[in-house]
Amino acid sequence: MQYLLLIYSAESDDANQDGAKMMADYGVFTQGIVQSGNFKSADRLRPVADATTVRVRDGKTLTTDGPFAETREQLGGYYLIEAKNLDEAIGIAAKVPTAKHGSIEVRPIFAM
């Protein structure tokens, strides 16, 4: 099955982390799941300050500055993985470096 691991954290908490160490930890983590064959794709997102939210209502496009919801923890990146089942996906999610100060949402991908 495929799962999307959505990485949520407070940007202020991210700023408090040792940046170089985080980068190194993410490198090790990513390499690990590439080697195990679980990795499909991944991206890091720019901060929510750079986000734009778009809605279409009554045929009109409404554009607003910022993320769709102002929450303390924001989506900061994702991994798309292949895992045997939810337990394997949870095991991988627990190893995402941000899991130590943020949250990882594990979402199964709709099988088409």
């Binding site: 099955m1 799962y3 895992a83 045997k84 089942n85 939810l86 337990d87 996906a89 949870i90 594990v106 199964p108």
Partner: protein
């Protein structure tokens, strides 16, 4: 022959094996329902030597028929894929006896799947009661004071998540086993506590004890499981004395101890020592069982070893700190250091607000104030407890105390 009885005894194992064989909860349940219907006709005279194997064999055949019927409505490509899946599932021509012989492993798989931490605790409990205990949906709904429709929805959603999220039908690997057992025990404990106060028919309490017994048999020598089983037995042993003839609550110190169930106490006591020594530090359930054991061993309230109980609560506070344990610790302390010392602790606890809305907090305060002869304050606290109480016996008890104090 009582068919109901055979269903209850073998239904869970048969279902557990069927889920492994057909790879789907709903399909396995439908297969089992049809197998039960077939059994009602075929077993007229007497059940076969191995009812579980019979149910599994017939249930699997019916489930696969059902799968083929479902596929008939889909397109050609789906048919090919699904036929291959059926072949795979049916492929190894295992003797049906051998298939059913894996019942214990399958039951364990079923328990761990129903109590998977990716499901909400209430969904875990509902699924466990429905599938492992084979309670009818309406009975599960009644136990949790929701409509049958709401409970059916809850079960459908839980099973849908198992399928869609890929919750595995597996016993967890050794390195995850301890934490997953804790999850299962939390669900069993919730079944018991619902049954403890809310269910005079005691069916939930019996189910919880049955589940703990089964788990203890399947995973022998686990301190946490032995501890929970002991705790439930040592608590349940007092049930007959906990309510009077009118259904009113009787406090521990006023209970007729001759009515305690000696068999349950003996079974529970025998488990306490192995539960306490199985792990270092011991499981919190084992410590709670040791506290219950001290109550059960006192021939009269005055014989209760409160000093040791207070000590065990202190251990519990280190192992698994929670406001509820702190409340019980303070209540026990009132029998060693007096009600005034306990009252200070409970007021500090109340000030933190963590137990807001929990009737046991004002009830404990009220009891201490009553013992300190501060009647007005005790009345106010009982009134607060009365407003928060969820169950009728508790409400009647608080009303009675209020009447005594005025």
């Amino acid at each position: 022959m009582d068919l109901e009885d055979v269903y209850r005894r073998h239904g869970a194992e048969a279902l557990a094996t069927l889920i492994r064989l057909v790879g789907d909860f709903d399909l396995a349940e439908e297969g089992l329902q049809e197998a039960f219907a077939a059994a009602a006709i075929a077993w007229k005279s007497e059940p076969p030597a191995n009812p579980r194997a019979w149910l599994v064999t017939v249930g699997r055949r019916r489930a696969l028929d059902q799968l083929r019927r479902r596929i008939a409505f889909r397109n050609r490509q789906d048919v090919l894929t699904a036929e291959a899946a059926i072949d795979r599932q049916a492929a190894p021509e295992e003797a049906d006896e051998a298939v059913a012989a894996f019942g214990d492993d399958d039951l364990l798989r079923l328990i761990f799947t129903c109590c998977h931490p990716a499901l909400s605790l209430e969904a875990q409990v509902a699924l466990t009661l429905r599938t492992v205990c084979q309670l009818p949906t309406d009975a599960v709904a009644r136990a949790f004071l929701v409509s049958e429709e709401t409970m059916a929805q809850r079960l459908v959603r839980a099973k849908a998540k198992i399928r869609a999220a890929g919750i595995p039908y597996e016993t967890p690997p050794p390195e995850r086993l301890a934490e997953r057992i804790d999850g299962v025990l939390a669900a069993i404990y919730l079944v018991y506590t619902e049954g403890y106060a809310g269910d005079p028919a005691r069916s939930l309490a019996a189910e919880a004890i049955g589940l703990a017994r089964r788990l203890d048999a399947l995973l022998a020598g686990r301190g946490a499981i032995q501890g929970l089983l002991a705790l439930l037995l040592l608590t349940e042993a007092r049930r007959a004395a906990r309510y009077d003839a009118g259904g009113d609550l009787v406090l521990l110190e006023d209970q007729d101890r001759a009515r305690w169930d000696a068999g349950m106490i003996a079974e529970g006591l025998a488990l306490v020592a192995p539960a306490l020594t199985a792990d270092t530090p011991p499981s919190p359930y084992a410590v709670q069982a040791a506290i219950a054991a001290l109550h059960d061993q006192a021939a009269a309230p005055a014989d209760t070893d409160w000093r040791q109980i207070v000590g065990l609560y202190a251990v519990l506070m280190r192992l698994a700190p929670s406001p509820v344990i702190e409340l019980n610790h303070a209540a026990a302390l009132s029998f060693v250091d007096g009600p005034q010392a306990a009252l200070l602790r409970i007021e500090a606890l109340a000030a933190r607000g963590q137990l807001a809305g929990y009737d046991a907090l004002p009830a404990a305060r009220a009891d201490l104030l009553r013992r300190l002869a501060r009647a007005d304050e005790a009345r106010a606290a009982y009134a607060e407890a009365l407003a928060l109480a969820r169950h009728e016996p508790e409400r009647r008890f608080f009303r009675r105390r209020l009447a005594e104090l005025s």
